[in-house]
């Protein structure tokens, strides 16, 4: 093929792109994903993306889609990069026939990008457990959902866990709780909440930022070694987690007093540290492990047919399960939208309604093959965060397994609610949004 022909093909491909599948025959449900299988955060992005793809394949293979309507999975590679994320979003959002039913950006930066766009494009954003915390206020952010819990709820849950170990909220007084955080919008999320908690319960709080990518944290951990905080919390991501856990082990900081956010608690994070990571804690809102009925179905219907996205033996890793729970809720929201609107040809706007009245209880979870996997949720017009419950899981380095180490804590809403109100109202004011009324 000569150069001119090649250019011609290339240009045609680009031009044809926005109308790519416009000639599909049957109605299909478009679920897009913004994956990152490249770049510095790829080790975390891959299991998330694999789970999404596996679950969608499972539904298509086993049930013929959602309520018999096939799902069309559109993925786009962002490399955890906001600019590529913008291109991806513009690329996929109008994918025929249904348009993108719900976008899961899997990146704080991209979520912030898309939040203002969501109401104009009328495509719901489901930033599951990340993104803008104050999007929990459904009155200001009707198109954004961040259930089952936000970073701020999680901060209150982790502090409650600490209180339980220390013997009650009252004994937090005078304790030192430090936060080691990824120096980015994501890492800064819990600061306000922790400051508010510190003020209320009288513990001493200090934040220690770590710059991206976080390969060198000696100075941070020397300070921790010197000041000997009673507990260390971590909001880390990527290589920062692995290095932090190793450094903590090196200075002999007790692992069972070191708690990561739910993005700092996967196999990737603890395995490089080996035995030293034993006892490390992290927040979570779902179980780890690949022994649930759903996993069996995925192995049977997807991997046995050679359609699996990843390695068979990595089914059930923490981030894989995180991806599963995200796509499961998305699918349930679409199902709910079909039910309330009485049509199988749902649009993104209908799916938004589906999210807003989503109720997945324990019984439904059991039906889905996820008994005791996570907790039931109920979303309402004003509360897009849902229950906000968070538990703590612990790493067993010998068995190489995560297991639940606590109950699910209810968030301290008296702390988070005013912060959410203030931040969402600031957004509303800046962007001339009139909060809607929920009745």
């Amino acid at each position: 093929m000569n150069l001119r022909k090649l250019t011609g093909v290339a240009v045609a491909a680009v031009l044809a792109l926005p109308m790519f599948a416009s000639h599909a025959n049957a109605y299909e449900l478009v679920i897009p994903t913004l994956d990152y299988r490249t770049g510095p955060y790829a080790p975390n992005g891959i299991p998330l993306a694999n789970a999404y793809s596996d679950y969608i394949n499972l539904l298509n293979e086993r049930d013929g889609g959602i309520e018999g309507v096939k799902i069309k999975h559109v993925d786009c590679e962002t490399g955890y990069n906001t600019k590529k994320g913008v291109e991806c979003y513009e690329n996929i959002k109008n994918t025929a026939p249904s348009r993108a039913l719900a976008v899961q950006p899997f990146s704080t930066g991209i979520t912030y990008q898309l939040i203002p766009k969501s109401s104009v494009d009328e495509i719901p954003i489901f930033s599951m457990g990340y993104g803008r915390t104050s999007a929990a206020n459904g009155k200001v952010f009707p198109w954004v959902f961040n259930f089952p819990a936000t970073y701020w709820s999680q901060a209150t849950a982790l502090v409650q866990y600490i209180a339980d170990q220390e013997g009650g909220m009252a004994s937090l007084k005078g304790k030192k709780i430090y936060l080691v955080y990824h120096n980015s919008a994501y890492g800064k999320e819990p600061i306000r909440t922790l400051e508010a908690l510190a003020e209320k319960y009288g513990f001493e709080y200090r934040g220690l930022p770590v710059d991206h990518p976080g390969q060198e944290q000696k100075a941070t951990w020397l300070q921790i070694r010197k000041e000997r905080p009673d507990w260390v919390l971590m909001w880390g991501w990527g290589v920062m987690n692995q290095v932090a856990i190793k450094e903590a082990a090196s200075i002999r900081f007790p692992m069972d007093r070191f708690i990561g956010v739910w993005w700092s608690g996967s196999e990737n994070d603890v395995l490089p540290a080996g035995e030293a990571a034993d006892g490390y804690l992290s927040g979570t809102f779902h179980a780890a492990g690949g022994d649930f009925a759903l996993h069996d179905d995925i192995r049977k219907y997807v991997y046995d047919k050679g359609m699996g996205a990843g390695d068979r033996d990595r089914i059930g890793e923490v981030l894989y399960n995180r991806g599963l729970v995200a796509v499961m809720w998305t699918v349930e929201a679409i199902r709910n939208a079909m039910k309330i609107h009485g049509t199988k040809e749902v649009t993104p706007a209908m799916v938004r309604d589906g999210f807003e009245s989503l109720e997945v209880d324990e019984a439904r979870l059991a039906e889905l093959g996820l008994k005791d996997f996570t907790y039931g949720i109920k979303i309402t017009c004003e509360n897009h965060e849902g229950p906000g419950r968070v538990a703590v899981q612990q790493w067993d380095a010998k068995a190489k397994k995560w297991s639940m180490a606590s109950k699910f804590y209810e968030p301290l809403r008296e702390i988070t609610a005013p912060l959410i109100e203030a931040d969402s109202m600031a957004y509303a004011k800046e962007n001339n949004v009139t909060p809607r009324t929920c009745s």
């Binding site: 490249t38 770590v210 990518p213 390969q215 020397l222 300070q223 010197k226 090196s250 002999r252 080996g274």
Partner: protein
């Protein structure tokens, strides 16, 4: 803990970190010295070397898939070194050969292109997962120092410092005593003159890139043992840049001394000044420190004096 002891601890940690930076900076210096190329791909070379090494050692690698067994560490390291030499040869053949006599910035850009190629290739060949690299380097704090003196020093970094010392000595001997080393120095001094006395530039470039690839392997092993082998490993190149400008682009001892100064400077600043201004200052502090030195010595501490004629 006594205050002085803590300061000592910070200084030691800084020195050790500095050695780790210097390991990366060394690779830059070697190539710049011999060919005037600012090799942006040095970090990616370290990543690539670590990935290749992991491949020889692990059961989920290509080597195991093809031959059905894995190599012991003492064989895997020379095998990886061979790969790096091969890579150097390919780089010379496919890239550098065509860019002789171009301006520095063009060569610099070419190495960025090279970095992209290696990055994509590394991911395609070896996958993007975090790979724990364990070649038997002791990990964690030195218990003896910690128990007896309450002094915290990381074992891995002691090993790194020792390795760096051996490496620098070996390089010094190589440059001073061997034929090839002399030829390298001749090329570094004057390309034209070196050519005229019969030194083959192509060969020299392959050699210098090979040596630099082996230095990258050492850096890759050290950093990879610390954080697992993953894409982020390539970003350590950025931490080597202030070391380079401080020590001078052309000086091997400069890379070591520069590394030590930067290491200590940034740790002391972060620990003692950081808390006052909100932390995370070490990144820019390293550059400001280097900039401060540059204002007095524009060619870096050990750089060759720049003489300009009209």
């Amino acid at each position: 803990m006594a205050f002085d002891l803590f300061l000592l601890e910070v200084v030691i940690s800084g020195l050790m970190t500095g050695v780790m930076y210097a390991l990366v900076a060394l690779g830059f210096v070697l190539i710049f010295k011999a060919s005037g190329v600012f090799n942006f791909a040095q970090g990616v070379l370290a990543l690539f070397a670590a990935l290749a090494l992991y491949d020889f050692l692990a059961e989920d690698g290509w080597f195991f898939a093809v031959f059905g067994f894995t190599l012991p560490v003492w064989l895997a390291i020379p095998a990886t070194a061979l790969i790096m030499i091969l890579l150097a040869w390919v780089i010379e053949r496919a890239v550098l050969r065509f860019l002789v006599k171009q301006e520095e910035i063009i060569l610099f850009m070419a190495t960025i292109g090279l970095a992209f190629v290696l990055e994509g290739l590394g991911d395609l060949l070896f996958g993007s997962d975090v790979k724990p690299l364990d070649i038997g380097i002791p990990q964690g704090a030195s218990d003896w120092l910690l128990d007896n003196f309450n002094l915290y020093v990381e074992k891995l970094e002691i090993v790194a410092a020792a390795t760096a010392a051996v490496l620098v000595t070996a390089l010094a001997i190589f440059f001073q005593k061997t034929r090839v080393g002399r030829a390298l120095r001749a090329v570094a001094d004057d390309h034209q003159a070196a050519l005229s006395v019969g030194i083959s530039l192509d060969k020299i470039w392959v050699i210098v890139w090979s040596v630099s690839g082996i230095v990258a392997l050492v850096a890759g092993i050290m950093w990879g043992s610390k954080s697992g082998v993953q894409f982020s490993l390539s970003l350590i190149a950025l931490k080597a840049l202030p070391v380079l400008i401080l020590g001078g682009f052309t000086s091997v001892p400069g890379a070591i001394v520069g590394g030590l100064i930067i290491g200590v400077g940034e740790k002391v600043a972060e620990v003692y000044v950081g808390p006052l201004v909100g932390g995370a200052i070490e990144n820019w502090f390293a550059y400001v420190l280097a900039l401060g030195f540059l204002l007095f010595r524009p060619q870096g501490l050990f750089g060759e004096r720049i003489i300009e004629r009209v």
